[in-house]
Every structure is written in structure tokens, then in C-alpha cells.
Symmetry: C2
């Protein structure tokens, strides 16, 4: 039996500002079975506040504790390790790091900073790292589809630059980091084995979750899914279904939820 559900957002619940057909009903069905849910997104350009607002505008109520972002994982790490952040992130995201207590020890936090990836900012981060700061990366993506419809350099490239310069390895938060999946599961006291992850990214969502020990990983054919994506990943998805609605139907058929 499944005792907890992890859901990706973009490409599973919505695309752009529109919910995917049947997605909200599927979430409602999971909630009606009293299954705890956590929403896991790798976005590093949008603060938590705006993601929650967007979900609410779509008619999906989501408590703050149900939403897991790399920024939240970073904030939790900073708090538990008593570190002050040196931020190299998108200006829109800085509010997620407001009001942290001051500490002497620092951690460099690298996200998708966009235009803020200047030589000066990268070199300042480099110097903090060589002076002993911890090294946190909100993501390790190589590229993203930019507004003009072409691929652009994503945060991972700048993490790689700092790793090369410092000869240190960043701790990557967000999917597919096992720590990220486990923090979400731990927040709902769900054992890894009896959890399910549903996502449209064969690698970061599904294969990553199964590699982290999650019992079931379902790949949906919505969002960024492209035909054959499942054949490029190891471990493979537990199953591939059309969309989130079909994913919940699959769980019922398999008698994994009652």
C-alpha cells in the first residue's frame, strides 16, 4: 500500500498557467483517501509565495508545508547547520531567504541567477568558497528552454565553473537529490518504500526517485515528456501513464490505494 504521494508540479499539475485536464480531480481523489501529498518542484526562479498563489488561482489548495522547492531545502540546510547564505540566485527568489538569523559561517547558494551571473558575482562566490564557505546548488540543470524558444545556459553550468575553480563539489538540492526526496517524505512521516513519485521528467523525477529508494515511480506523458524518454534512464519507471488522472487510476487498479 502507498502511504504518501510526491507530485511534480509543472507538466503534471499544470503547463504554464493552466491546469492539465483531470489533474485537479486526481489530486482531490488522493486527498479524499486521506493520502498525504507533497508537491516537489525544481523551479529556482519563483518564490514559494508565488507558486502557492498560482496553485490557489487554479483552484488547488496547497498548504505551505506541502510545497518543496530547492530554496526551501537550502533554507532548511542553512538553519540546521547554522550558516548564513551568500546568494547567487535569481533576484525574484531572494525573498525565500529573508529573515534568516546571522551566523559567522557561510554557505554559497547558487541558483539560476540569469543575468546576475556576472564575472564579479561569480568571483565573489568563488572567494567565499575558497575562504571556507559551504557550497549549495539549487539545481544542476545544464540548459533550459528560454523565452525566445532556444536553449540557454542554466545554473548547472555556473555550478560547474565554481566547482572547477575551487576543486570543491557542490551539494545539489532539488530533484534528483535523494536528500530532497527524503526531506519531503520525512515531513509526512512516510517510509521511502511505501511512497510514490509522479512526474514528467524521466530522469530527475522518476528515475531519481526510484534510485532514492522510493517504491513506485510513475512517468506521465504530459509536460516535457517526449516519446522514448523512459528508455534513456536507469532505473526505469515503474509504469508510464497518460497523465495524472491515469496515474491515480493505475494506483487504484493495482490496489495500491483503497
Amino acid at each position: 500500500m502507498i502511504t504518501g504521494v510526491l507530485l511534480d508540479l509543472s507538466g503534471v499539475i499544470y503547463v504554464g498557467d493552466e491546469p492539465l485536464p483531470g489533474a485537479l480531480d486526481a489530486v482531490a481523489l488522493l486527498r479524499s483517501r486521506a493520502l498525504p501529498i507533497r508537491f516537489l518542484t525544481n523551479t529556482t526562479r519563483t518564490p514559494k509565495r508565488r507558486i502557492l498563489q498560482k496553485l490557489q488561482d487554479m483552484g488547488l489548495s496547497c498548504a505551505e508545508d506541502e510545497l518543496f522547492t530547492p530554496a526551501r531545502a537550502a533554507r532548511d540546510f542553512l538553519t540546521s547547520h547554522k550558516l548564513s547564505p551568500h546568494l547567487l540566485i535569481h533576484p525574484e527568489l531572494t525573498e525565500d531567504f529573508d529573515d534568516l538569523p546571522c551566523h559567522d559561517s557561510k554557505a554559497v547558494v547558487v541558483g539560476d541567477a540569469g543575468e546576475a551571473f556576472s564575472y564579479q558575482n561569480l568571483n565573489a562566490a568563488f572567494r567565499q568558497l575558497t575562504a571556507g564557505a559551504e557550497f549549495l546548488a539549487l539545481a544542476s540543470n545544464r540548459t533550459f528552454m528560454d523565452k525566445d524558444g532556444e536553449l540557454s545556459l542554466d545554473a548547472g553550468a555556473f555550478v560547474a565553473a565554481l566547482e572547477y575553480g575551487t576543486q570543491k563539489t557542490a551539494k545539489v538540492l532539488g530533484k534528483p537529490s535523494p536528500d530532497f526526496f527524503k526531506a519531503a517524505l520525512s515531513s509526512m512521516r512516510c517510509p521511502t518504500k511505501s511512497a510514490i513519485m509522479i512526474g514528467d521528467d524521466a530522469e530527475a523525477d522518476v528515475s531519481g526517485a526510484i534510485a532514492a529508494g522510493i517504491g513506485v515511480g510513475l512517468l506521465v506523458r504530459t509536460g516535457k515528456y517526449t516519446t522514448g524518454a523512459e528508455s534513456k534512464v536507469d532505473p526505469a519507471p515503474t509504469a508510464i501513464v497518460d497523465d495524472l488522472k491515469a496515474a491515480v487510476e493505475w494506483l487504484v487498479e493495482q490496489q495500491l490505494i483503497v
Copy 2:
């Protein structure tokens, strides 16, 4: 017998704007034995014209053909492969790429661009590379000692960023690239085995030269040399001597030059 000499510049011939004691006499002695010489520098911020001027101001006459810089190696590569450059280099260095013929095919050339390493410029280079441009790196250094006396990020970090984003590997010009040593030797028709390299960088100058097949690699204790640097490299230097003057004396003692 030695039939050709490769000399590093900074730290071997001069430090800053001052020739090292005995260095000019040592070069004169090599010239008096009719030994062909090539000067190999990894600088990617100073154009060839200014390096030649600097040497002349110090009293060392050096023909244009005797000076090998990564920019020259890149220019030769562009010419022989019929490529137009997309430059991501220091503004001071652009003159070394003036007046190249136009070609449809391109090569991205990454040097130590300093402040010109903006997100926009890096992303433009990234897009050229994903569109099929060749990928040339003038250097792969991680860090350099900046004007303020602290280490700063060097070109290698930005090459690493582009390599991570594109999943392509740059062709690194300059020392310790075997192609760079071999181009210099080929220009004086000197077989690799009967050549000597003298430098103050145990890794890039000396170990790199020996790894490239050069018969003798001498490490001098001037410039950036630090005690024990020779023990960190494999292959090890053929010998370690105090300075360039001592290097030439060593060659005479070993009867490698007459």
C-alpha cells in the same frame, strides 16, 4: 645533443617588467651556439605586439616567429581549418585576431575574458557551440593571482561552464597541450626528442613538455616556483636548477650543447 630550446617567459626571462639576473646573457649564449629558440607563454591578456615590445625594451631581441602564444595557436588553427572566430576573450587580446578571412564555419575561442564573462556573452558562446561551432580554449587555468593579491577565477572555470552546458570538450591550446609544444618545435624543424623546455611551472611547463615527448625538461627556481613543486608532478623534471643561467650551465656540463 640538444637541437632546439623552448623557453617560458614570465618567471624565467623576466618578472613583471624586469629581466631576471643573468637571463639575457643566458639567451645570448644559446644564440651564440646557433641554437634555435622559441618563447612559449600562456598569457591570454596581452597581445603579441606588446609582448615583443616588452622584450625589446628589456634588451632581448625576439623575432615575431620566435614567440608562441595561445592566441597564435588559435589563429593558426582557425586559418588551417577555415574557421571564423566567435571571441570570448580579453578586450586587449582582440588585435591578435584581426584581419582573419571570413568563413561560414565558426569556432568559439575562450580566453581569460575577465569582466567580459557576462551571462549574455557566455550564453551567446553556448549557442554558437550548440549550433555546431568548434570549441577552442586558450587556457585551462583554474585561478590567477589578481591585482588585489587574492586568487580570482581564471578562464578554465568558464571553459568548464561551457563544457558542462554543451557536453562538448574544448580543445585546449597553450601549455601543457602537446600540440602547442609541437607547433613550436615544428616551426624550427626540431625533433621532439632533441628539444629542451625550461620553465618555472612544474606542471604546465616542465612535466607537460616531458609528457609531450620533449627530451629534457628543466625546472628553474625563479618566478612562481615554490619549494617541492617538482614532487607534485609526474613525469618529474629532468633536473632542477636555480635559474636560466644555471640551466644553460647545466646543458654545457651535461655536454648537451657545445
